[in-house]
């Protein structure tokens, strides 16, 4: 289907199903239950899952395939969101021009930065990208404040021209929309104790993520993808075999920059505010973590990594002592307070510790990330259930490669 092999089509359909059903899958616990705090089916969180999924997926095309580790990709995301907000200030709050501009501007910006940084490889490349991103961050806060609005962040206002739309509707700033359907629109569905939220903004992001995922699969399976793997494997041999590795690497850099720009554009499409902090080096580091955690060089790894990190960032960081006391209330007193003390280190502000421990465990025990973990588990099952059914577990696992 769509020029994909059967294995890849299956993978795409699985991701499609997960994304469509996310409002159910992420809200498995009834509203008033103890465990409801682990639900993640909120519009803004679901949007973040797919948007950061796009960001990590693009990063993976550069890092996973060519091995070039950029520490500055958040700059492209930031530039993308500024471009997006400007479109919504100047043209219209329809998100389509904003998203297109985000991708285009980030593409041009990454062409420029990639051209310079790719003169070096290895650690020097990483440092150069980091330096560029930090420079962009600093510029956004200083000389570029007329464009970026500095610390306040760039946002829509009633005085914006919006020549293709209207500056104000009923005295307020019009809502960002997709040909009239507002991003924040949606509906809720309550069944039994459960409440599921279906948000239009999420579904728009999800559709775009699926398209981005499809493109990523095509790239992975293409001769271009093979060339990118060859860059990672042996640039010498490439050169002596008649191939110039530079334009291939630059193309990968620009594509991943455009994915980052797309992520930035979608962020402002659902919440039209762009701040320089999105370009800070920690944001660049986060996408590295997502990709490695999920499995660098695999198709679904970055999506999984983005999901896991965003989940922990938003759910674990919200737990507090009272929550923990309640969770462990079944235990004897002494044990309860001991458990709470220990667990407390890992929640709230301590969620970064959880992330750190998880990341170290993955790097040490599962260099191929969550995807490798999944493959190993699938491997066990295959061995247990004998060779007859082996065809069943294998495709999903190896399709992720």
């Amino acid at each position: 289907m769509l020029g994909l092999s059967r294995k890849d089509t299956t993978l795409l359909l699985i991701v499609l199903a997960l994304v469509v059903l996310a409002p159910f899958l992420l809200n498995p616990f009834p509203e008033d239950s103890e465990l409801a705090r682990f639900n993640a089916g909120y519009p803004d969180l679901m949007q973040r899952f797919v948007i950061f999924g796009i960001f990590a997926m693009g990063f993976n095309i550069l890092f996973g395939l060519t091995g070039y580790l950029s520490f500055g990709h958040a700059a492209f995301l930031g530039v993308g969101s500024y471009a997006g907000v400007w479109m919504m200030k100047l043209l219209t709050v329809n998100v389509v021009p904003a998203i297109i501009a985000s991708v285009a501007v980030a593409g041009v910006f990454s062409l420029l930065i990639g051209y310079i940084c790719l003169r070096r490889s290895g650690i020097y490349f990483s440092i150069l990208t980091l330096a560029f991103a930090q420079m962009s961050f600093a510029l956004a806060y200083s000389v570029l404040t007329p464009i970026t609005a500095g610390e306040t962040g760039l946002q829509l206002s009633l005085n914006d021209p919006r020549i293709l739309g209207s500056s104000a509707v009923d005295g307020t700033i019009p809502a960002t929309n997709f040909f009239g359907i507002a991003m924040r629109d949606g509906f809720e569905w309550a069944v039994g104790g459960w409440k599921f939220t279906f948000n239009f903004g999420y579904y728009l992001c999800a559709v775009i993520m699926l398209i981005a995922f499809y493109i990523s699969i095509r790239i992975f399976r293409s001769p271009f993808g093979a060339m990118l793997r060859a860059v990672k494997s042996n640039q010498q041999r490439m050169n002596y075999t008649g191939i110039n590795p530079k334009p291939y690497t630059l193309a990968a850099f620009v594509i991943s920059g455009m994915y980052a720009g797309l992520a930035g554009g979608l962020m402002v499409a659902v919440d039209p505010l762009a701040g320089a902090d999105r370009m800070f080096w920690t944001a660049s580091g986060e996408v590295v973590l997502m990709t490695i955690l999920g499995g660098a060089g695999t198709l679904v790894g970055p999506l999984l990594g983005a999901g896991v990190i965003k989940y922990f960032e938003n759910i674990f960081s919200r737990l507090n002592e009272a929550d923990l006391n309640q969770m462990f209330s079944g235990l004897p007193d002494g044990l309860q307070s001991a458990m709470v003390t220990v667990a407390q280190m890992f929640v709230g502000d301590g969620w970064l510790l959880t992330l750190g421990v998880m990341f170290m465990a993955v790097v040490i025990f599962l260099p191929g990330g969550i995807v490798e973990g999944g493959q190993r588990v699938a491997g066990w099952f295959r061995r247990k259930s004998g060779t007859e059914k082996s065809g069943k577990a294998a495709p999903a696992a190896s399709a992720a490669e």
Partner: protein, 251 residues
């Protein structure tokens, strides 16, 4: 006709004269062997042909076009391919991909943005690659990773990567080192067969069995200079060669 002409080539590494006034003429369609003791400068000489090393002075012309100061990929695109002394392959890629990549390079040039095609649907390239893998006897391992091969097999893979490009000049730096006797003989046969396709070859070898099975002309190098040059029969008896090889143990 001379396909490769080397004139007065010099290269110093610090005080070491690695190449000393080298002159070399390689005739089109022949097998030209370069022999000499370790450290004689044989690999260094090849390095100047493929753009890995820029000599201090001198000229290298391939097909009457200068080779010096070109990028390695340009030189390959001109029709020169090299098999290295230590195998240079794509270790993390399958054997088939290893051979398909040079095939793309031959077909598409040094850069083409083919991000929408599919490796498994590039039937022409696939077929060519499979065919060459069969030639070198690695077809059964086509889906294995190149890193999993033995040293001798890696060298055969690298040879396949060059052969699939049908180069005009093939540079072989010790193509049989690390191979068993049987594999060495297979490789000799293979090189003879491709000789029939008119590919000019420069072979560096320590194994005299290989040299005398293949070479039509031999240049003997010692301490950066070509000391003797001639047909295999002339070389065999030459006292200077015996001396360079410390009493002729190798011969």
């Amino acid at each position: 006709m001379g396909i490769l002409k080397v004139r007065n080539l010099n290269k110093n590494f610090g005080g070491l004269k690695a190449l000393n006034e080298i002159n070399l003429d390689v005739e089109e369609g022949t097998v030209h062997a370069i022999i000499g003791p370790n450290g004689a400068g044989k690999s260094t000489l090849l390095n100047t042909f493929v753009g890995r090393l820029v000599p201090d002075t001198g000229e290298v012309n391939f097909d009457d076009q200068p080779l010096l100061n070109r990028q390695p990929y340009e030189i390959n695109q001109m029709g020169v391919c090299r098999v290295f002394q230590t195998p240079e392959i794509f270790g993390e890629l399958s054997l088939l991909d290893n051979v398909m990549i040079p095939t793309f390079a031959k077909r598409d040039g040094s850069f083409v943005l083919n991000g929408w095609g599919r490796m498994d649907r590039e039937t022409d390239v696939n077929d060519q690659a499979e065919h060459v893998l069969e030639d070198v006897g690695l077809a059964d391992q086509r889906n294995e990773l190149a890193n999993s091969l033995s040293r001798g097999d890696k060298r055969r893979l690298e040879l396949a990567m060059c052969l699939v490009q049908a180069p005009r000049l093939l540079l072989l730096d010790e193509p049989t080192a690390g191979m068993s006797r049987a594999d060495t003989n297979n490789t000799i046969d293979l090189l003879k067969r491709i000789g029939e396709r008119g590919i000019t070859k420069i072979v560096i070898e320590h194994d005299m069995h290989v040299v005398f099975s293949l070479a039509e002309k031999i240049s003997v190098m010692a301490q950066g200079a070509v000391i003797v040059e001639g047909a295999p029969d002339e070389i065999k008896g030459d006292p200077k060669v015996q001396e360079a090889y410390l009493g002729g143990a190798h011969l």
